[in-house]
């Protein structure tokens, strides 16, 4: 009787155990992605709380969130959403709040967060700017961070004056990229800060030992002088057009009407002309000292491609 009862028990428990195990095995799955609606920032602990809980271990806590930031960047790489690198911003912001001297985070995240949606339409640029500005505040002597911030300000936010100032400082820092002074003087001239642009270019010209680089800065000094003249002519054309409702036919017309005191002379030996777009130019060079417009270049390239495609049989 007792043996039968025992047998019955095992007959019941064994199938239940087996069914349970099989069900668990069948239903087992890797961790599910948390459901996401419209973009929401990751829920991160408050900085104050982390500072208390991680007392004495701030580097370790910062590293933990840095690893999370890298994972967020990795996830972003597999996505096509406009918000794909926003998680990286929130993690990086927390990491740099915990450890403001974590230099790598500013460089990596500041460059990764801006997202190109195609046709040079960029998003998340303000977040990248915030991080780079924090980086420059903590590393004022770092020329690379200033260069990245200047690029962000100039290209994404069209704040060329602020960008020029960062480049001007970057150009004077040690171990600076050799192209920084060249870009800095260009932006300073564009923002009509001719004295600062000339001071920078002349100082690099006078201290440069490489004859090729010296020649580049020598030319830049002349280009700045020319840009000063061209901007003066631009202002005169704008004033003329506003008053007359048309573009001037020649430079002499502007001199006659008092918009220019005398005929402008190109310090580089070229002839100054009025372009069809109402901007002045010179025969000494078709390029002006202004920020490189990548968006315009992109669309021009696209247009050229389309034209080529139409011409080809």
């Amino acid at each position: 009787m007792l043996q039968r009862s025992k047998a019955m028990k095992s007959l019941i428990t064994l199938p239940i155990l087996l069914t349970g195990l099989v069900t668990v095995a069948v239903l087992a799955e890797p961790p599910r992605e948390p459901p996401r609606g419209p973009y929401q920032a990751p829920l991160l602990p408050r900085l104050e709380m982390l500072k208390v809980v991680g007392a004495g271990q701030r580097s370790l806590v910062a590293d933990y969130y840095w690893l999370q930031a890298i994972q967020a960047a990795g996830r972003g790489g597999h996505s096509l959403e406009a918000t794909r690198y926003l998680d990286l911003f929130y993690y990086s912001d927390l990491v740099t709040d915990l450890d403001p001297k974590f230099h790598k985070v500013y460089l990596y995240s500041g460059n990764t967060i801006p997202t190109n949606l195609g046709r040079e339409t960029w998003v998340n640029t303000a977040e990248a700017r915030k991080l780079l500005e924090k980086g420059v505040k903590n590393f004022p002597e770092d020329s690379t961070l200033r260069l990245y911030l200047a690029y962000n300000l100039s290209y994404f936010h069209q704040e060329h004056a602020a960008a020029a100032e960062h480049l001007r400082i970057a150009a004077t820092l040690p171990n600076v990229n050799k192209f920084v002074p060249e870009i800095a003087s260009r932006l300073l001239a564009f923002n009509r800060r001719f004295d600062a642009a000339l001071a920078l270019a002349e100082s690099f010209r006078d201290n440069e030992t490489d004859p090729e680089m010296r020649q580049i800065f020598e030319e830049r000094v002349l280009e700045i002088h020319r840009e000063k003249v061209l901007l003066q002519v631009d202002d005169a054309i704008a004033a003329f057009q506003k008053r007359e409702g048309r573009l001037p036919s020649a430079l002499s017309e502007m001199v006659d009407k008092g918009d220019l005191p005398r005929l402008p002379v190109d310090p580089m030996g070229g002839v100054i002309i009025i372009g069809p777009d109402g901007k002045s130019g010179s025969t000494s060079s078709t390029l002006r000292l202004e920020p490189i417009d990548h968006k315009k270049n992109y669309f021009e390239k696209e247009r050229q491609k389309q034209q080529d495609a139409q011409v080809a049989p």
């Binding site: 007392a55 004495g56 271990q57 370790l60 590293d63 890298i70 994972q71 990596y108």
Partner: protein
């Protein structure tokens, strides 16, 4: 006097070994191995930093917890197991007993720190990353941090239960690292009384942040001995004060 001191100290060390504290080193080695294997996959170009932070960080967390556990439970365990009565009935002063036990405690922690340090540097060498003076400083100064914490644990356990002692010592760890905030906040207070109370609290608490050189290890910043020596002396002095308080309280305690 020296012989009983050494005997008690080594006895404390042996007892810790009997309590299987060496398992902690094994757990640390395992943790380090798993963490570094994961980190090689997860980290981007900051591998050296993360390896140093994880190694020294885990080392400090494990040893701080162990210091709290060993120091706060030592006297209560002796009372519980009645081994204390055997010792106090011998011609050994309570002061000698307590200081020898404290020395035994520090010997245990020191041996574990050494073993963990060897494992840590072994791993650093294995991965071919940089061994820096800052790492040695961070690990060396951790010993002094553990000394201060243990002394607080001993002072507490001389008159309170293990639970209370452990809670207060853990509290002292956090307060000791956040003491600077208490100082800053109190200096902003309008009331002079509040300012005075805040500053008094700051100076009464152990300044553990001055013994924390883990951030310097993160950034490979070397620290001159001239800067370390006063901090070491501070830790020894603070521990001495705590042990004297423990001796006074323990001597007055009635075990009847």
């Amino acid at each position: 006097m020296m012989r009983p001191f050494l005997a008690l100290m080594l006895n404390g060390f042996r007892e810790a070994r009997r309590n299987r504290v060496t398992v902690v080193v094994g757990a640390f080695a395992f943790g380090l191995l798993v963490a570094s294997s994961l980190l090689t996959n997860l980290s981007v170009s900051t591998f050296d930093r993360v390896l140093t932070d994880v190694g020294i960080g885990v080392m400090s967390i494990v040893l701080v917890l162990l210091a709290v556990f060993l120091s706060s439970g030592m006297l209560s365990r002796e009372i519980e197991r009645k081994t204390l009565f055997l010792i106090v009935s011998k011609p050994i002063s309570r002061a000698l007993f307590l200081t020898a036990r404290f020395a035994g405690n520090m010997l245990t922690l020191g041996a574990l720190l050494l073993a963990m340090g060897v494992l840590f540097f072994g791993q650093i060498a294995l991965y071919g990353t940089l061994i820096t003076q800052a790492q040695f400083v961070a690990i060396g100064m951790l010993f002094f941090e553990l000394m201060v914490l243990s002394s607080i644990g001993f002072a507490m356990s001389s008159f309170s239960s293990q639970m209370v002692s452990a809670t207060v010592t853990i509290g002292a760890y956090f307060a000791g690292h956040l003491g600077g905030d208490i100082y800053e906040l109190s200096s902003k207070a309008e009331s002079p009384l509040l300012q005075w109370v805040g500053k008094a609290t700051y100076y009464a608490l152990p300044n553990l942040s001055r013994l924390n050189y883990r951030v310097q290890a993160t950034y490979e910043i070397p620290t001159p001995v001239a800067e370390l020596a006063p901090s070491m002396l501070y830790a020894v002095a603070y521990s001495a004060v705590m042990i004297i308080i423990a001796v006074i309280l323990f001597s007055r305690r009635d075990f009847k």
